[in-house]
Assembly symmetry: C2
């Protein structure tokens, strides 16, 4: 029996990356999940990621520690206030303070290192341009440029043995479509975590951009969100 091909999947523990992992698995890959402890305030994300990799029987799950607080500069790593109660129209207008500089580039670089060591040609990332939060490093032109660079960066690329692909299966999907796809593939969304500013109890705030986009997605998908919220503000 031939081994399944290996894929490195970036997993935050949120709705998008979890659905991406399920898609990689459904496409026949052995999943090597990669998460990061990067000084973010929501460690609950990583607990979600661990439950998800067990649920989907990932071949391996690594959590890489990187201290982006050393550089400062983002609401997700510093003590800047996470914006709350913004309308959907507002959310996509400008790059928000929750943006972490070069985060996807750093995450994808580590994924590239692991892929090269595993002999994998496939990296999956749950980037999305529709219901995203205005991050520059979620755009298709950025991701294509990363893929091109990655193919010049590695030993396998130089020797022409491998062609690395950065898979972005969610890139053109709405949040509602992602939720439907996830349900179709057996994702238990109660395991996923999206909130930028959760309570100590693990409850989601229901008011940050990420909660609002998630709630809007579930409403549009006609499904109720199994996540635990302290408050829910419909957008």
């Amino acid at each position: 029996m031939k081994d399944k091909p290996k894929a490195v999947v970036l997993l935050s523990g949120g709705l998008d990356s979890t659905t991406t992992l399920a898609m990689a698995k459904s496409q026949g890959f052995d999943v090597y999940a990669l998460s990061f402890r990067y000084g973010q305030r929501h460690k609950v994300e990583l607990e979600a990621a661990q439950q998800i990799t067990r649920y989907f029987q990932a071949a391996k799950h690594l959590i890489m520690d990187i201290d982006l607080r050393l550089f400062g500069g983002s609401a997700l790593t510093d003590n800047i206030e996470v914006p709350k109660n913004r309308q959907a129209g507002e959310i996509n207008k400008a790059i928000p303070v929750t943006y972490v500089p070069a985060r996807n580039t750093i995450f994808l670089s580590f994924a590239l290192a692991w892929a090269e060591i595993l002999g994998s040609e496939d990296i999956f990332i749950g980037a999305n341009v529709l219901d995203y939060s205005g991050y520059p490093d979620c755009r298709p032109e950025y991701l294509a440029a990363f893929e091109r660079m990655a193919n010049l960066a590695t030993k396998a690329g130089v020797e022409g043995r491998q062609k690395l692909k950065v898979h972005t299966p969610l890139i053109q999907m709405t949040k509602a479509q992602i939720i439907k796809k996830g349900l179709e593939l057996g994702v238990d969304f109660s395991l996923t975590h999206s909130c930028y500013d959760p309570y100590e109890t693990g409850e989601a705030c229901g008011r940050c951009d990420s909660c609002r986009l998630r709630l809007k997605g579930f409403r549009e998908a006609g499904v109720s969100d199994p996540a635990k919220y302290r408050t829910k503000v419909l957008v």
Copy 2:
């Protein structure tokens, strides 16, 4: 008085990155030096980097901890034997076991994050294609692809406010030329460290690829190498 522009300089503590730092400084930049503790065996490198940043009065020096041992796969992070006593012709032939997958991509990604936070448009890296050790991520086409990707990755890039440049001032220089340039700019090469496999005393082995390329460079520059060696094998 106008502030000097800021540059992020990747600094390993070796001969190349130290000369690169001196060049950034001589071009009028305020230097923000970035080093990594990545599970490498030669912690003496980081001590060298600290001395160098003091010597050149860097505006700031950050050491980022990243544990690449989590992935495994290289002589510089694992317990694989570092090759010794190879001839110059041999050194450039194939990608050696000392290659760390995606290392420059990871380093440059962190430099990109810091540059964005600092409002800097300039990253310096001491990559070199002539007397290098056959690493794919030192090639000009790779570095150009990284720069292109970087300009799509950031907030400033998207807003068209900034044009990020990856400076590679050593790219076409021989080791001898780098040494001469460094001396011209006041580099004290006794502070720099190049050995892949130093002794506990800090002495260089004199036999690994990096020592041999360094010794060859000093010989060709007609200057004696002030580094401390246990043994010296001329190539």
